[in-house]
Amino acid sequence: MFVPSGYVVSNSCDNQNKIYDLWRHCTTIQKTYFINTPHSTTETALHFFCEELERFREWLTKSFEVEITEENLKKTINIFNENRRLLRQVYELRRQKPPLVSGSEALEIVLSSMMIPKDEHNLLLRRLLDEIEERSIPFEKSARLLVSGSVIGNPELLRLIESVGGCIVADDLCTGSRYFWNLIEEDGEPMKAIAERYLRKIPCPFMYSSEERFRHVREMVKLFDVEGILIFSLKSCDVHSFDAPLLAEELKNNENLPVICLEWEHSLSGIAQLRTRIEAFIEMLE
């Protein structure tokens, strides 16, 4: 059985912080670290975060007897950025009518990026981008949808939408566009660049302001020619649940877009009801 050598948790939300506690008591993993990620993007916060990441670097170095050099960091940043650029290229394919990659496929692609070494994933992505030229998908008029939410760790939910005629062309998800949209600055000090990218990326709702994320959703709507939006609130993901009605209101009133808000759970209980509501929403759009 695979047992990790350690785990690292970021100070994102209460749920995450408590995971740090629970895992300490429910697993035998000895090496644990908590990164005190700030919740604001001010210069003070950035400075604090840079120092925090230096401390984390020191812990990694000591705990695992590794060397983290400036050169290695720069090299890794390049590989990660390459992954982000390639994922963007995959997402570009979804701008087409019909999109060459489905929503559930795109989710699988991003999720797999989180689970295997980035340089390996880059090879897979390059192959995909080559092979996809051969793909032909019959054009079926269906409403172009954007899915907004937090963590969707299983494509089943998106397949459900697709099974009732939904064509998911874009997303605003922790496990979707927000995972890779922002690059790390490749000039200058690597640690500072990493801190800046992670602190000031399109934010998760635990951050001081959600405006940048709402702007990102509007941008996705334009780029991908979105016609309808599904906002998913994951049960107990409170920071997103507070944002959901605000985002919905903004999209409905300011952008004149049809929006549906849905609550769901990782276990997908209540899936029948979800399907009915999603089906009705899609029918309404068409």
């Binding site: 300490r24 409170d238 649940s241 209101e249």
Partner: protein, 403 residues
């Protein structure tokens, strides 16, 4: 079994809470600013600038006690806010979305909103939503989460530095916004008063170590009002001096809050604000709550000569900003010092910060302190899932297992 109400608490709401809201509503007429404040924000800073603090959490508890919280929660839910989020937030937001015949004329509108990350994420999100209506400056004190330190002396310097530098920035912003400078003498005085009131509050708690206990949770959840809302004031000190006197007398005379005290309990988290009579019911069974974690999160002496630093030291160690071990230790300490027989762990559904880890806590309390606890699936403010019969039965059954 007779109830022995404390004299000082008679008319508490009329004498203290009602005037507080009246003053806050009239603030503009007196040229004063009103701030919405979330608990664990260093309110002494605001008090020193003559800014009137208003606590949406207190307002939610008041709405629950007046049995109007659920209709207000429903108003928020109709606007799309999930039933799973904090009921305090839903209640207060509901009152903003659709406010008619609200208690105390509704929650006073803020000129500033002030929140820290110390307690929970919900404070910030709640205020963000409310601020879409108010459009006022929203101050966020980004408090580093404390993973390792257990005392003011072993706190990390860089955590304190980060806290202090943000407070300094905040003070500049407040001065700019209010047009008045922070009065350092007033701040010193406020901190001295805050110390006085928290020392008195701890003395008050100490009296509850006596058998029988002179005061229970019903009284504590009213009296804690000053610690939560206006700690650095003459009013707080005065009230706690009188409360402390009354308890001292009762202890001397051996008068317990319940005539026939059989079971002594520690209560974690919030009470059922909509059903404070539950404590009376427990007393009818001879059970008294001798300590609440809520009453013991205010510890920490402030140093008037180092105001920001001592506020940092105090708040960084707040139980809500620390890992679960601190909460377990706190409860274990309370069980021991207050000679408790058992622990009640109400879930307060919607409060992630307090809810996650309850089963672990129950397990650890049994393992480490040989004390049993009862988890109650209830909410402090939203009574829709509350099954009174079931809760009472669970309590009765649990009490029978003690001793």
């Amino acid at each position: 079994m007779s109830e022995r109400r404390l004299e000082i608490l008679k008319g508490f709401y009329q004498n203290y809470v009602k005037p507080f809201y009246k003053t806050a509503h009239k603030a503009k007429d007196e040229g004063k600013l009103v701030a919405w404040v979330a608990s664990t924000f260093p309110v002494e800073i605001l008090l020193a600038m003559d800014i009137i603090p208003v606590w949406p959490e207190n307002y939610a508890s008041l709405c629950a006690a007046r049995k109007v919280s659920v209709p207000l929660c429903e108003k928020a839910e109709r606007k799309g806010f999930s039933k799973d989020i904090c009921s305090y937030a839903r209640c207060v937001l509901g009152s903003l979305f659709d406010g008619e015949n609200l208690p105390e004329g509704g929650i006073p509108k803020p000129d500033i909103l002030a929140v820290s990350t110390c307690a929970c994420d919900t404070h910030l999100k709640w205020f963000q939503v409310a601020n879409r209506i108010f459009k006022k400056p929203l101050l966020l004190l980004d408090v580093p989460y404390n993973v390792e330190s257990t005392s003011p002396e072993d706190l990390k310097d860089y955590h304190i530095k980060h806290y202090v530098s943000q407070v300094e920035d905040m003070v500049s912003l407040l001065e700019e916004h209010s047009g008045t400078r922070l009065d350092e003498d007033k701040l010193r005085r406020t901190l001295e008063l805050s110390n006085k009131s928290s020392n008195l509050w701890l003395k008050i708690q100490d009296h509850r170590k006596n058998i029988p206990a002179p005061m229970g949770a019903r009284e504590a959840f009213s009296a804690v009002y000053f610690m939560l809302c206006i700690p650095g004031t003459e009013e707080a000190v005065d009230f706690y001096e009188r409360l402390e006197d009354e308890l001292e007398q009762r202890v001397r005379q051996g008068i317990g809050i319940v005539e026939d005290e059989k079971y002594r309990l520690v209560w974690d988290n919030l009470p059922l604000w909509f059903n404070l009579q539950m404590f009376q019911y427990m007393r009818s069974l001879g059970a008294v709550v001798v300590a609440e974690t809520f009453s013991h999160v205010w510890a920490g002496t402030l140093d008037p000569s180092e105001p920001y630093e001592s506020l940092a030291r105090k708040h960084l160690l707040n139980m809500s900003n620390c890992t679960i071990e601190r909460r377990i230790e706190l409860i274990m300490g309370l069980v021991k010092d207050f000679h408790a027989d058992g622990v009640i762990l109400p879930t307060n559904w919607g409060c992630r910060m307090m809810t996650i880890g309850e089963t672990l806590m129950k397990k650890k309390l049994q393992e480490m302190a040989d004390v049993s606890s009862l988890i109650l699936d209830v909410d402090s403010t939203d009574w829709r899932s509350f099954d009174e019969y079931r809760v009472k039965t669970k309590l009765e059954t649990y009490l029978k297992t003690l001793k």
